[in-house]
Each structure stands twice: as C-alpha cells, then as structure tokens.
Symmetry: C2
C-alpha cells in the first residue's frame, strides 16, 4: 500500500466523479432535452481509448462507473494517499454539441448532480471541491450558470472542454470570464473533445489514432493559452485566474520564451498586451501536473521545473480514475521538500483559497 | 561588421531566395496556369506580418525583392559571415491552392527558376544548395517532380509547406516520401500557409493576429512530427530523413517525453511503431535552429540543448532575408566549441552529404 503520510498535505486538482448511470444525469434534465439524451451509449464517439480510459480497479464495489461513488472514491483515493482536498472535474463533453441550448441544459444537469451527490451530501469534511461545467458555445447561458452557483461553499472553479470552435481568448467567450472574475472563480480548461462534434481538431486535419490525438493534446492547451495572451484577456479581466488541466506542462518554458520573443517586435499589432506575456502567465495561469513527463534522466524534469518556475505555477493532480493515473508517491522524481510542498499543496491552496 | 572567421565552417540551412518579380515565375508557366497567376499582388493574403517580413537592408541594390539577387546575397550573407553552404528554400506557398494541378505547375515553375538563376548559374563555387518545391495536395505530381530533379548536383532536399489539409504522416502523402527515399533526399517541412487557402489552421479555429498565428507555428511542426511517428512512416521508409524547418526547437524534449510515455501503454493500437518514438526521431529527424529561443537565463537554453541532444539533432539557420533573422555570431549564447561545431556545421554536413 502506498502512503501519503510523509507529506504535510496534498491537494489533488484533477479528479473525475462519474454519475452511477447516465440516467441520473437524464433525470435532472427537462424536455425536449431529456428524451434526446442517449442514456445507453453515453457521451463519446471518436478517439476512444483503445485500451481502457479508467483504472480497472476503480469500478465501484457494486459494479458501477469508476468515480461514481463518493464513499468508495474517498476510500480509494483520499484516504489511500492522505489527500486533503480533491478538485472534481466531471466530464460532460458539452462543447461538442451543435445546439447551444442543448449543451447548456446538459451542463446545468451535471452541475445539479454534482452539487446533490458530491458537494452537498457525502462531503461532511468538505474535502470534495467542485467545478461548474459550462458550455462555451453558449457564453450567455454559461455566465448565467456561473451566477446560479456563485457563492456555493464547495464550487471552486469553472470548467470548459478545450475542444472548441475557436481559440478561447476571442471576444465571444468574454462573458464567461467576466462572470468568473466577478465571483473570484478560476476558469479551467480540460481536454477531451478536440475534433469531436462541432469542435475543430487541435492539429491541421484530423488525427488517425487515439495515440496521435492524445499525444497532441498539449498543442490544444498551448493554442488557447496563446490566444488568451494575444487577445489581452488578462488586461480586460485583471483578477481572472486560468487553470490548464491535464495538457502537459514540460512545454511551458519553450512557449514562454517564444511568446516573449514574438511580443517584443510585434507588440504594435496587439497594443492591449502591455507587458511581456510571461509576466501575465506567471500571475494568472496555473498548470496541473498529470500526466507528468518522465524523461529517462529524472534530472531533466527538475531542470524543466526550474525553467517554468514550477514552484509557483504547477499544481499536483492524479487524473483519478483515468488509465494514466499519477500516483502521489511514485510518479515524481526525488525533489527538494519545499518544491514538493509547493506543487503538492501550496499552489492549489492559494489559488482556491482552501483551509 | 560581424565576422564568421573564428568558426571552422558554417552551413546555413534556411535561406530564402526570391525571384526578382513574380513575372519571372510566371514566365516559366504554361497555359492555362500562366494567365491565372497574379503576378502583381504576389502570393499572400492572410496573416501578413504587420511590421515587415524581410530584413529592411536585404532589398537589392537595384531595389528588387530581398534575396532575389544571388550576387548580393552572396555578399550580404555568405561572405559577411563566412558561410560555406546555404540551403535555399524559396517560398512558393503552393499547399494553399484548391486545384492540385495548378499547385504542381507553380511548384515546377519555382524549381525551374531556382535551378536556372541560383543553382546552375551564379554558383561556380557550389555554395548554394536547393530545395525541390512540391505540392503536397498532389502527391503523384510531387513524386514526378522529384524524379525530374533527382541527380541534379545542387538540389539537396525536397520541401513542403507545413500548412496542410491533414497530418503529413497519413498514407496519401507516402508517394512523396517514397520518391525522397529512393533518391536519398531529405523531406523538409517549412511553415507559412497554416489556415490559408484550403489549409486547416494549426489551432482549433482561426487565430486572430499575426502574433498569435506566428507564435503557434511550432504546434504545426509538432503535429506533423507526431503524425510521422504514429503512422509508422519511418518503418515504411527506413532511409527517409525529415527536416523540420523554422518551427522552433525548445519544445522537442517535452514532445519526446510525451511520445515515449504514450507509446508504451498504447502501442497495441499502432503495431507498426516498433520502437520508442524518440529512437525514430534521433535517427531520422533534424531541426533547424532559427528562431532560436532566448530565455532570460542563457543557461536554460544550454540545458534544453542537452535534453534534446542538440549536438546531434539541431542544424544552424539564419532565415535570411526574413525579419527575425538569426545572426551566426550574436543569436546563440556562449557554448562549448564541439557543440557549436556540430550545430553550425557537422549535423548539416552529414545530413546533406556536403564536402
């Protein structure tokens, strides 16, 4: 058995609760959406993982979906590793729907379910913190959905799929960020619907295999991050925070260098970008760690942490219950205690105002 | 004046000759293409650089296009820096055309012009080496074009825009790589038509500004490289070499790590990928250096060189005459002589069989 007892604290920023069945979600919806929602086949369709998308041992004792039972997850994840808080990111995959009202209805149903089954009950110690799912193709409804949950004691951020119709810095999405900023909620991007439904692919054309699709997910994260910078989102919303979930992190130094180099000669084109892009990113952006990169030489990862200032920007996550789960005790190389404490606890504690 | 005399040799892998006017290119074309080609407005249309795309001092003495005069370029670039060989990559932007025969006709005209004006004349000392432009949307014509020039003493590689309709590892492009391999010519990808004409964008949706478009070009390079790996191109063409031109390089370590991590659990899905992706890349792929990244702390760039094995994979380039030209003497931090020699000379000498 692995144990997290050596650590002073852990905040896990990437945990995926699952409804016991899609009928549960369906029960929160109203017509006409309710009868259109296919509760048998679920939500996916393209780029399915050819192996399995969840840890095999995360099926619940009564045979239910992985991460669909708060008690079992508490035992298998929180207690097993001594995790203080787990940030819950249900996967509703709403950005893929062509009908923005349908997408908003599904998002709202997911939020109702998460509040009822994970945040308001089964949460006596307050260790589960939730993400408000919103539909990016319906920014006005998304802003209303944020208003609906703002002030809830256990919703700590807003989340969108990074699969999208356009780079997320663009102006059509700004009502969402305005609502986030107003209520002090970070916005989080999580991959999963790139090239699916109405969404553009994250590469030129469509990838062939899941391995190609999944390997390229960091490109999606980077494109949205560049868009946030070049569109001046952090000047318009100076208190907004952005969390890039599950998109890799080792690419960050190269992107910071390139952004700063491009901005210097081209800043006339983007006069609303008033300082070096790396300064905005250090102030406003945090990255979750899973899947942490594993170079053959572990010291290369520590060099990379130094280059990206991981001490202030990287937040630990497991991606429970997914197949490529990162263990708090086994996935990272040996590193200085203060750096470990920042990555495993302090950075998320500060961002989400925990404890 | 800067001088390259301290170096034992320099091979510049990214130099852009320009016809004196587009009428020159037009003169090599036949009907019906000739009369359709707009020789007045040139080839571009979207994502134009808002400042200037060429070094201001590279306009020729008689007021002609930058890099349109082999003698002036020899003086301003080769002699100025003591560059032994310059790999010429004209910018025909052919991948953007919807009509594949039109695209092939323009590519062929560019090749005729490059051979006539730069490679067969004005090249007594053989310092100019050429790239065969081909149209990726017409793989059969591209293969014929490669056959047409194979054996020419000064064409040393085949080039395509990385702006494309699909990831370049896909099977429809394989006739091009078969011809490259047959004649021992590396294939080179150069950015420049992403999201233009028929090409997909390299981000989800279309970028807004040139800065956003240009900052994201490394994403295009990475997507094509991943496609080459996951489609098994180097197993099918075991002697093929690939050159990623002008797409950045500091991202390479993070991509190698991610590719290897993905391949291990997912290799059942891609049984034609028989070894770790990083092994294919080390053997088959080379990156050109410009624009070299400039971290605030130069030692971070040297760490990055170590992580990517720059000693064996990185090849120097200036991108002459473009605006973000890298100087052989000023753009790199101080580094060990043997590393410098590999990057500035040996890696390209070995790839292109020079001297």
């Amino acid at each position: 058995m692995e144990t997290g007892k050596k650590l002073n604290g852990i905040i896990d920023c990437d945990v995926h609760p699952h409804p016991k069945s899609y009928q549960v979600i369906q029960s929160y919806m109203s017509e006409p959406w309710k009868s259109r929602f296919n509760a048998q086949t679920g939500l996916r369709g393209m780029y399915d993982n050819p192996i399995h998308v969840n840890r095999l041992d995360s099926v619940t004792p009564d045979g239910g979906y992985p991460c669909s039972d708060p008690e079992f997850t508490r035992k298998q994840l929180l207690d097993e590793y001594g995790i203080n808080y787990a940030i819950l990111l249900p996967r509703a995959f709403v950005s893929r729907y062509s009908n923005p009202d349908f997408a908003a209805a599904i998002a709202a149903a997911f939020n109702d379910w998460l509040a009822a089954d994970w945040l308001d009950n089964n949460n006596d110690d307050g260790r589960y913190k939730g993400s408000i799912t919103v539909a990016p193709q319906n920014p006005q409804a998304a802003a209303r959905e944020i208003e609906r949950w703002a002030g809830h004691p256990h919703f700590v951020q807003v989340m969108m799929d990074s699969g999208s119709t356009a780079p997320y810095g663009q102006q059509q999405f700004h009502p969402i960020y305005e609502a986030c900023e107003k209520h002090g909620l970070p916005i989080a991007f999580h991959p999963g619907t790139e090239g699916v439904g109405i969404n553009q692919s994250h590469v030129a054309g469509y990838p062939t295999t899941y391995m190609e699709w999944h390997t390229c997910l960091p490109l999606s994260a980077q494109a949205h991050l560049v868009s946030f910078i070049t569109e001046g989102v952090f000047e318009k919303f100076p208190r907004l925070k952005l969390v890039m979930v599950e998109g890799g992190s080792a690419w960050l130094p190269s992107l910071l260098w390139r952004l700063d180099s491009e901005w210097k000669p081209l800043r006339e084109e983007v006069p609303w970008v008033k300082k070096r892009p790396s300064e905005y990113i250090k102030e406003h952006v945090r990255l979750t760690s899973q899947p942490i990169e594993s170079p053959d030489d572990p010291k290369h990862l520590l060099m990379n942490f130094e280059m990206m200032d991981a001490k202030n920007i990287l937040m630990f996550s497991t991606d429970y219950p997914h197949w490529d789960f990162d263990s708090p005790t086994r996935s990272f190389p040996k590193m200085p205690e203060d750096l470990k404490r920042r990555i495993f606890f302090e950075n998320a504690k500060e961002l989400y105002n925990l404890e």
